[in-house]
């Protein structure tokens, strides 16, 4: 379960997690948010951007339940639920993360979730968890 190191471009995202906040880039030309971190805006190609803090709220866009992994460290954690979350701030901005705090059978499309923050391999990382009673 090695975690890829932050790149110079993505360091502010990971730094945000250390402070308990999710951040994405926002294009300074067209004002659109984007994730993953990219060198230029995929909508208008501007290279000007700032990092913006997010509410940490979103909803489930897609998910899977992993029962078998070829990676021994992940296999030891099965079953686990990787989820793609669409953030509340902008349609189409998707942030992957592990979904925790519910059973696999309880996951639904559109389920409201929020980011919580934990540590893994000595680094801060976000998880998604439901904001409503399941």
């Amino acid at each position: 379960m090695d975690m890829a190191p932050p790149s110079p471009l993505s360091a502010p995202f990971w730094g945000g997690l250390e402070e308990g906040v999710l951040r994405t880039q926002r294009c300074e030309a067209c004002l659109k948010l984007r994730f993953y971190p990219t060198e230029s805006c995929p909508f208008c190609a501007s290279t000007n951007f700032i990092w913006r803090s997010l509410s940490g709220n979103g909803h489930i866009y897609s998910w899977i339940v992993v029962y078998r992994s070829s990676d021994p460290a992940w296999q030891a954690r099965t079953p686990y639920i990787p989820a793609i979350v669409e953030i509340n701030e902008q349609e189409g901005v998707l942030i992957p993360g592990l979904l925790v705090g519910l059973e696999p059978s309880q996951v639904r499309d559109g389920l409201p979730v929020k980011a919580i923050f934990t540590r893994s391999n000595g680094r801060a990382i976000h998880r998604w968890t439901p904001t409503i009673d399941i």
Binding site: D2, F35, Y67, S70, P82
Partner: protein
């Protein structure tokens, strides 16, 4: 509309055994398949003057194989560091090379020990994806870190979106696997020839819900090859030349991400949506003219997305189409008539091109689609990038 003209044909095809353990080097497999394709065409390696391949750190280079074949001259070569999305693109490249006058007979091959060498379902492959520019640096940072490390997990995430939006079910996925297997039973090359029932499908273990093992393609040791020739010289060769009527490698905006594309507008659509109408227009046909389709089936779901996106039915209707058996032999549109990557073997999609040629030459025996004139072959699964060919018997 740019026209990939009428001057390139497939003049020969060849393959090795598709097995779980070749016991041979990838190089040996590649050379055997290339020799077989040349012999099929009635050519020798002295006639071939171009060679193209693709792979992901698991193949041999075109120069190695050209040397083994003692090709006197290599007028055109290319080596793609690419996945199955280029399995048709390499044939398109060969056709363009022929049409541009770069070469006269171009060998296109794919060789791998996908079962005993680098396994695409294995942990080593995750590392290849992360370190060889197949992915951007974002996939390892943001997907691997939440346990999405295997291709099937990416595709299962795509499939889930289709289930959410269109009500696609696991019964529909099963139908794709069962339909493909119905042909594999009639294909002596196929690695999986035993019957597959719905009960068998549901007895297959869940790997990443919604995918079971039966939703995943095989891991195969083997190789195959085709020879792309200039039509004016192919008329004198041994086999009926199969025309490369059109080819595309085309996609839409924000296609970044080899599998799960985090910027893709609508994850229920694949690259195939962006190949239409060009893929058909350039061939002078419509989707209704296609007699059989070989659709890249790295996973069952990939077939559903592409089938819809090429326009064979409306979005959301592919699952019922397969469940009703309409893609089986005698159905409205036979799909993956050799059993595909799910049942025949995984030669990274190039074996789908081989099968289309066999069908159009009408050499498919008990699985022959009667009157086959025009075939679509695709490469790329349900993702944002891919390529496709229309092949024709004319």
């Amino acid at each position: 509309m740019p026209h990939i003209g009428k001057r390139a044909v497939i003049s020969g095809i060849g393959w090795t055994e598709y097995s779980h353990m070749s016991g041979r080097s990838v190089e040996a497999l590649a050379v055997e398949a290339c020799r077989a394709a040349l012999e099929d065409a009635g050519l020798t390696s002295r006639d071939a003057d171009g060679i193209i391949t693709f792979g992901l750190q698991d193949t041999v280079s075109s120069a190695v194989v050209a040397t083994d074949l003692a090709m006197p001259v290599v007028n055109h070569y290319a080596d793609y560091n690419a996945g199955g999305n280029m399995a048709c693109g390499v044939v398109l490249h060969a056709a363009m090379a022929v049409e541009a006058g770069q070469a006269q007979h171009v060998i296109v091959f794919r060789a791998l020990n996908g079962a005993t060498g680098l396994r695409y379902g294995g942990a080593d492959f995750s590392n290849v994806l992360a370190t060889t520019s197949i992915h951007s640096d974002s996939e390892p940072q943001f997907l691997d870190s939440c346990g999405v490390t295997m291709p099937l997990q990416h595709f299962a995430l795509l499939c889930r979106r289709h289930m959410i939006k269109f009500g696609t079910t696991t019964d529909h996925l099963a139908a794709v696997a069962i339909s493909g297997r119905s042909y594999a039973k009639l294909n002596e090359r196929a690695m999986k020839q035993e019957a597959l029932t719905l009960d068998d499908y549901y007895a297959s273990p869940l790997i990443a819900d919604p995918f079971r093992r039966a939703d995943c393609c095989l891991q195969t040791d083997g190789a195959c090859a085709v020879v792309v020739s200039a039509a004016d010289v192919a008329n004198d060769l041994r086999q009926r030349a199969i025309q490369i009527a059109s080819g595309v490698s085309r996609t839409g905006p924000r296609a970044r991400g080899g599998m799960w594309g985090n910027f893709w507008d609508d994850h229920t659509f694949s690259y195939a949506h962006h190949t239409v109408p060009g893929i058909f227009d350039r061939a002078g046909v419509s989707a209704a003219d296609i007699d059989l389709a070989q659709l890249y089936d790295c996973f069952t779901y990939s077939v559903l997305a592409q089938f819809e996106d090429f326009g064979f039915c409306k979005k959301g209707e592919a699952g019922p189409f397969f469940a009703e058996g309409r893609a089986m032999l005698g159905g409205e549109l036979p799909v993956n008539t050799a059993g595909g990557l799910l049942s025949e073997g995984y030669i990274h999609g190039l074996n789908l091109v081989v099968e289309a040629v066999i069908q159009l030459r009408r050499e498919a025996g008990r699985r022959q689609v009667i009157g086959a004139e025009t075939a679509l072959v695709s490469a790329g699964g349900a993702t944002s990038t891919g390529s496709a060919l229309v092949l024709a018997r004319r």
